[in-house]
Symmetry: none
Subunit: 412 residues, 2 copies
């Protein structure tokens, strides 16, 4: 039997698994469209479970559809060391976001299995439901229920744009498990992920040792003016909700630039009514996403944003309605988990650096109830939520080796 | 027999006719939804024909579904004096747009009939098919075929969102007539219409003597940047197509204000891709509608608009694609027809003013092949293409009296 600290993952097998998963719900431009709880998501889950059972893992599914695949340890009374991420994607998503974390965990467990290594604590691979939040808002809802941040009934009732709910869709695809979400014990959670930002690539580092996640505030906004004929309504006196919204988008951009390089703000979603070429838009709905790693600074950005909205609505003679639909304060990861990642990267001889996650991740929810850390690897141009999202096989392999070694350290 | 210049319409009968027509395809909020060539449109047409035959008019329907209801004159070799508009509405349309023009013409002919007045030339009431363009684009298609602006085969082939064509739907509702569209001779055309703008109301005038229609240019624009993660992509280096588009909307607004009060510009339709809350938008499609009564000034606005687009795309590091999909130069109405309207308004003692039509109308198509003018009456707050569209009975009656007198002057 190979000494555990000499174990290395099979980078080709990891790569091939990622490419096989990407064939389910392929995008039009080389990426993926595998929205949460669709038929494609079901097929991705089924394939994952097939792979896990092939190496003897026991499957447990909770009533939020989260999947835990367990490889027993020597002492199964110990809480398991869990690694994983999510399999759902953005509508124009890439092959790596989430999927890498799940399949790196699978590759680590496959490597442990092949080498017949018996860990002290059990090791598990987890798949969290609806991380992206594209089909059902908010994002990271199932890890959020696990961490006690959302009520389960609230989560089940969240509907997509066709009115289908998470509860119904879990039932429909056969992934509403018997176990109550949150009751499955986690000893520690590790999540490997592409960085989705440009920092590691710019610094020529292969591994990011993630210290925590930045804070996020999400808003739904509606501006209401008055529909009117585009040809016969003079410019003066119009109540054009889209002109007001455009001004707001420019101000949000300026606000974020004032808080650069750490602050970011984005308007990602928008709909215009009546959306007719020759009618002045009477109503615009849009979303705002504001982030900063420092909680107090994030509050300051939120306050300025809210004041700007009121001032602009007044200026453009439209009504504004602002709902904060999500507030996730910054999180700090567990020092023992961070150390396990950092020392593994060091021992493996990979260039590494501490980093803060710009994106939200399931790990940022679970860290509130269990020791947690993350491992980042570079992705080309920092590009993510894009079909062109890309990562190098060598970087993915390096991150997977760090994950394997950190899991072994924590599992004993 | 009353002297023709002493004839006055029956305002109550006009109002009641408008209200009866509004019962066919009622809207949810007090307006109308009677889309072109639907069952509701057929019922509206049937009722109109019933009213016309009751006063002895002869009906002729052409192969675009345009209806001409003719009251014979003393000399039926003279080309007829025609008045009318359209009966189709926007999906959330009002009771008056188009309908007023048809039923004011009916009321004028009813008044002539009741008084046993015999005109020199025949007088006719016309209903044009699919003026709104809501169900089938482009708008004003049947008057456009009449004026030789569209081929009839092209018009017949235009499909709604379910793939049903104008040709099929004309056949289905029994309004594809035998006569070739465009062959029916028009001596002069008068169209009464609500203003759909706020000018008459603001100036406290009851009658707008329409001099012509402003020029229109329609554009489809696409801006392309790069989809990217909203949390982990720093502000610097983003290629946010929506931020670029927002800047463009503000500049278009400014451009129109620079050409106020006559110039107008509107972004009415927009779609964002991938339209996900936590993804920087990589692509935005939007439409631009620019209008001005002076052709050269409209060209200048178009030129500035095009330059602004290029400059902004460059500044925001996105690609821009601009397609001009329609260019309708300004039209000038016939002086004799304008004079007939102006002198009638003056003789009737109504406050009146010259005005240019901001919206497109069937009259703006027909004026290319026959002498034409229009009569505007105020509508509340200038509001149109809206179920709340409203007009005062006294104003509708005044416009109808002007129409009657102008028809009598032109018919002799």
């Amino acid at each position: 039997m190979t000494e555990p600290d000499k174990l290395r993952v099979n980078g080709h097998r990891l790569w091939n698994s990622i490419m096989s998963m990407a064939e389910i719900g392929p995008g039009e431009q080389g990426g993926c469209c595998r929205l949460a709880l669709t038929d494609e998501d079901k097929r991705g889950r089924d394939l994952f479970i097939e792979w896990c059972t092939a190496i003897g893992c026991a499957i447990e599914i909770d009533d939020m559809g989260n999947i835990f695949a367990r490889r027993a340890g020597r002492n199964n009374d110990l809480p398991p060391i869990v690694a994983g991420s999510h399999l759902d994607t953005q509508p124009h998503g890439g092959k790596f976001d989430g999927v890498y974390g799940v399949l790196a965990a699978l590759e680590a467990v496959r490597t442990i299995h092949d080498a017949n290594v018996e860990t002290q604590a059990p090791v598990e691979i987890v798949v969290w439901t609806n991380e992206e939040g594209s089909r059902f808002a908010p994002a990271m809802i199932a890890s959020g229920v696990y961490a006690g941040l959302f009520e389960k009934e609230y989560a089940w009732s969240r509907a997509d744009s066709d009115g289908k709910t998470i509860g119904e869709e879990l039932e429909r695809i056969g992934y509403r498990g018997k176990h109550a979400c949150g009751e499955h014990v986690i000893g520690a959670l590790l999540e490997a992920h592409i960085e989705q930002g440009p920092i590691l690539e710019a610094n020529n580092k292969q591994i990011g040792v993630v210290q925590g996640g930045q804070g996020v505030r999400w808003y739904d906004l509606t501006m209401k003016g008055q529909d009117s004929h585009a040809g016969s309504t003079p410019m003066r006196g119009r109540q054009d909700a889209l002109v007001a919204c455009a001004d707001m988008i420019s101000r949000i951009q300026k606000l974020a630039l004032d808080f650069a390089p750490h602050g970011v703000a984005t308007v990602g979603e928008m709909s215009v009514r009546p959306n007719s070429r020759n009618t002045i838009p009477g109503e615009v709905f849009f979303t705002v996403d504001i982030r900063h790693p420092d909680g107090e600074t994030l509050d300051k950005m939120a306050e300025q944003f809210s004041q700007t909205g009121k001032a602009l609505a007044n200026q453009h003679n439209v009504e504004i309605k602002t709902d904060e639909i999500w507030h996730n304060p910054p999180v700090e990861f567990d020092q023992q988990c961070i150390d396990a990642v950092a020392s593994s990267a060091e021992e493996l001889g990979y260039e590494h650096q501490p980093i803060v996650s710009g994106a939200g991740h399931d790990a940022c929810q679970i860290c509130r109830v269990a020791p947690t850390s993350m491992i980042f690897v570079p992705c080309a141009d920092g590009l993510s939520h894009n079909e062109q999202e890309s990562a190098k096989p060598a970087d993915l392999e390096a991150g997977c080796n760090v994950l394997l070694q950190a899991m072994l350290k924590l599992a004993g």
